[in-house]
Symmetry: D2
Subunit: 365 residues, 4 copies
């Protein structure tokens, strides 16, 4: 199957190119009866939007979403919801040089080899701009999950380049351009970014995402485990190179006597597993961490080749984020929301009749 659809039962089909007429998605499978308007979606798009601080790309367009179908008198009807975002600020000239050359670290070479041709304007289909429809679709999922299960999603930056960013308080996240749960290091982060920009370079980042009030029982082993699908969703975000659930790579050096989270009638006593056991949610918080590589478009010249495979040099002068990780937080939240939404529907398809004689134990965060 072609790969532009996310999910099995809450299916999001993404379309568009960075500098084509429009981008968007079609959501098929949304439960009917959900109150929904553009006002429910736009705030999530605005969180992810470029141009909101001097640390992110200055592309300036409103990313206004339009609901084309699937909603009648303010409620979802159960039929496909098409969300459309017109591209308005295309500045194609910035990208003229990438028509013939392959930018190191970018998808130029691989798209060209795969399809035999490609839309080079703004990275075409490989642009991070295509995360916007994903974020829009996830806003619908988040609304339903919150109303139905109280589920929430919170992401933050925990590392900027080599600088760890302490988690001080989730309340800080909306109040700085980095999605940092932090107030004391913001000035230092700003200075770090300014230095990078001056140097014509870029850096990576680490993002954490947590889902709270997760229904127990989500995940479809043997292969479609909840954590497997989360890893798929996260690794599919542009520039992500690593994914961890719970203690992640930290488990390598742990002992079994420490690692396995004990259970008690009051709930799990720890959450090293990150909310998943055997590929199925425990009802605890889902804890996910991702690594984002440094922006590939930098001012520093790099060696490359052109479409005739002749050597050339690439340096980028257009608007670009020196750290693409800065805008990744709402995207990572969106991906996690889409995974959970799909698995809630998948779970109840098979297991809607399951009745247990005892309640679920409370989870430990």
């Amino acid at each position: 199957m072609p790969g532009s659809t996310f999910g099995e039962l809450f299916r999001v089909t993404n379309f568009g190119e960075s500098h084509g007429p429009a981008i968007g998605c079609v959501i098929d499978g949304c439960p009917p009866g959900l109150a929904l308007s553009e006002a429910d979606i736009q705030p999530e798009l605005d969180r992810r939007r470029p141009g909101t601080s001097r640390h992110v790309t200055q592309r300036n367009e409103p990313d206004a979403v339009e609901i084309l179908s699937g909603v009648y008198e303010g409620r979802t009807t159960g039929t496909p919801i098409c969300l459309l975002i017109r591209n308005t600020d295309q500045r194609s000239k910035d990208y003229g040089n990438i028509l013939d050359t392959f930018r190191p670290g970018h998808a130029d070479y691989t798209y060209w080899r795969k399809y035999g041709l490609r839309d080079p304007r703004g990275g075409g289909r490989s642009s991070a701009r295509l995360t916007a429809p994903t974020v829009a679709a996830a806003a619908v999922a988040r609304k339903w999950l919150f109303e139905r299960h109280g589920t929430t999603f919170t992401g933050w930056m925990s590392q900027l380049g080599e600088m760890p960013v302490a988690f001080e308080d989730a309340a800080h996240i909306p109040h700085n351009p980095f999605f940092a749960a932090n107030v004391s290091q913001i000035a230092e982060m700003e200075a770090y970014m300014d230095a990078l920009r001056k140097a014509g370079d870029s850096c990576g980042a680490r993002i954490e995402v947590v889902a709270q009030n997760v229904p127990v029982g989500l995940g479809e082993p043997l292969y479609d485990k909840l954590d497997a699908d989360i890893a798929y969703a996260m690794m599919g975000i542009n520039a992500v190179k690593g994914v961890e659930i719970g203690d992640g790579f930290g488990v390598v050096a742990q002992r079994g006597s420490l690692h396995g989270d004990e259970l008690s009638p009051e709930g799990f006593r720890a959450n090293r597993a990150g909310g998943v056991l055997g590929g199925i949610s425990t009802g605890q918080d889902l804890r996910v961490s991702i690594a984002i590589k440094p922006t590939s478009s930098i001012r520093t010249p790099k060696a490359s080749i052109d479409r005739a495979l002749q050597p050339t040099t690439v340096e980028t002068f257009g608007r670009h984020d020196p750290c693409v990780g800065i805008r990744a937080t709402p995207i990572a939240e969106a991906m996690l929301a889409l995974v959970l939404m799909d698995h809630v529907l998948r779970h109840r398809a098979q297991n809607a009749d399951v009745v247990l004689p005892v309640p679920a134990i409370p989870g430990a965060a």
Copy 2:
């Protein structure tokens, strides 16, 4: 969709429980004409099999695979291939205590909550034994990929608990029980394991897998990127908590000036990306790394609850690997092979007609 099928076009449907009559899988979509017999599959199963050293579980069964369909006169016919492995050494008594109690770190609680009932014998469906059909199916994929594209898969252990295991030479891998590409640290690893076992404890591991001679152009953005599907496959292996592609979490502290792999007419000059750009294979080696948690079944007692949610204590006396990561190497290779096999078929469905005027550049390992 229920989750026991892996892949879209080379589809592997896995069935069975650890202590039921049999385990196995059905492969649908295998290209016709591949020479195939049990002798092509059995060696891969033997590599993954328990009981091969004192460091892995002593369950002793031959895991003999039988081809029930899809092969005629020694060649695949293009119809479904059913691979059957009878369970012979079931020793159900070892597991009696897990009928009513939920073992910390295991899937007992989550399976019970999801399905309302579960087969507790040997962990039932959540047992690592169910990786055997996956490995068997992957043996078919590996044979086809090697014959058609020369693709090979090599995995090794790079860390055992807190002990890094140096890569000395891939030739060592088959000659020690740890799948270590190493000869000088083997004695130390043996001692490490003996001490763990004596302590009634367990440890984690880190495994590397590399695919060589990977066709360029594999991967189906926007969502079904090659690295996304690799992450899904790897995180779906029992006990895996982290997945990295290329430099993985190391990218967080890298600079863009370093990270983006430069291209030259002679090929890529580095492979920090791990063989994937924009979710599509570059033709370079695919480099994947995974973190495996310590075995949850240990002799050390841990607090838990029973099905009435009453407190209890769990300690495990049966046969168990003190490091489940030891046997994970052939499984990780198998998963990577299944991902590539599926993507080769997906790629050619859409792009079989693509002709480029210049050859692919050679990859850098």
Copy 3:
């Protein structure tokens, strides 16, 4: 996707060849908690089995089904259910002549062109024997549908060759070899078949299937309408060349003033639609009719070609049904059951929360 899986959420993956070691299927997605043993499945297999009268093929094997997974202590666990049927009576010699020649009306030529090679023994994968795993899987679906919704499936032959077979009483169906709801024409049907056999010829048949107590609301427009999926299921049965829902081709000459079934508080006043409107079940009986072509294997010689495309003549001496339609009734019932089962799960995935202020109106048969 390869095509040996039926259904999206109650997924049946079929494997095997007519004269290979075994045939069978894997059901993924069965709800947990259903009481199930071989005794629930065997009777449906026995209804479809050859050798039960002189009017059907004399292949004589017990078709004994074995449950290999997915059931623990007599209940489904929600994990894949593998059903295995060993082939025992293979008599390969009967089929030797079809290795090199293409039998008119059979799949020999098309399989060979599609796959480049084929298993010719007994028709290999194209044999009607492969409906046995479908029937076995459907037995599981039927049990669940009956317990959960009271749904039943009844099929009968309504035409044998040019002879219409009156519907007298459904109670007659199990008591004659034709699945005729009839007692007065049975002797005539027997004579008809004997004459056909003597003539070395074969005839077609028409089968009706009705499902009763069908939940309202099943079907997933725009494309996966309930009637669309029924047509897919029925046309996929060997030898079927036509499918009708409700009044079928009779609607061409009907007037709208007659056709549209009126509604009243007591229910629909007619059922010309056959239980589906807009691709969604109305809660009335589902009414389906299918046309089955005459058996292609006949004693009468026919012109054909061999694998070198040279002319040859084919006549069949082995055991064959002069009317394959005779055994099609339980298969058609099975297909309809699988469609409904899948759609019940699909419906509740999206619409489990829908609550209407008024009850469904009763259906009219």
Copy 4:
């Protein structure tokens, strides 16, 4: 899975409601490099468009299609193609009475029960207007199939109510409002329609579709046979109640000595099978026939109920086709094209390497 996506590898996701802001579709999986512009799609939409004669609904809108993505410099890029059609002539008032009442023969009741609410404007999602995106997507498939394989699709009306319409010459089809391959009966058909309209009634129709130059080997048994998927596609068209392949229901009374199409080195000697054997295309013409029910919206009053399940009467005064079958021909062609397109891609995914020592035999029409 929700049901608004057609196909596995050439995937068409349909969205929109009859009187919402827009309708359209996203095609994922289109091979790259196909020359494509709106001018390739618009003519097919125009053929299906209402308002083209006095015999079809007078809704008057241009149905102008816009390509939003997936095409760069006039060629498909292999990424999703979004096709958008804005709704312009909505006249919602015509449909006011169907908000609360369920029109006999329509999907009003079933949509309401399935989703708990529905968009009643113009039938909402169940309107035949939603076939427009299908036709648009199929125009892309038809172009690719013709360029790559020379495949063509021709449909015509063979029966209007009780009046058989002779096939005189395919050249007549574009020159009358009925898609009749006929010139001598057109006046009679016009009179027939005028009488129906005067009577406030409607009638059914039978449509034939033929595909020529069909690649041999298409179809994915065991379940996704080519004819099974054709039946699914055809029965999914609004108002279709019956589907036949080849001789269809005529086979019931045929003898095997007649039915099985003989083969010769010059090709098949007949085509009673309709171009499919064992679910796989033979390379002959594909022959499909469908039955379309009479329009449900008629002026004649019919009994029904409202949302409180109270009795009421329905009569329709808005614009409506007295025979919806008149406009069904391009839709049926479109569906057949989508099925073939998908199966070409599916076939080559698995079988791209198959090489036969001899050419395919020519087909008999």
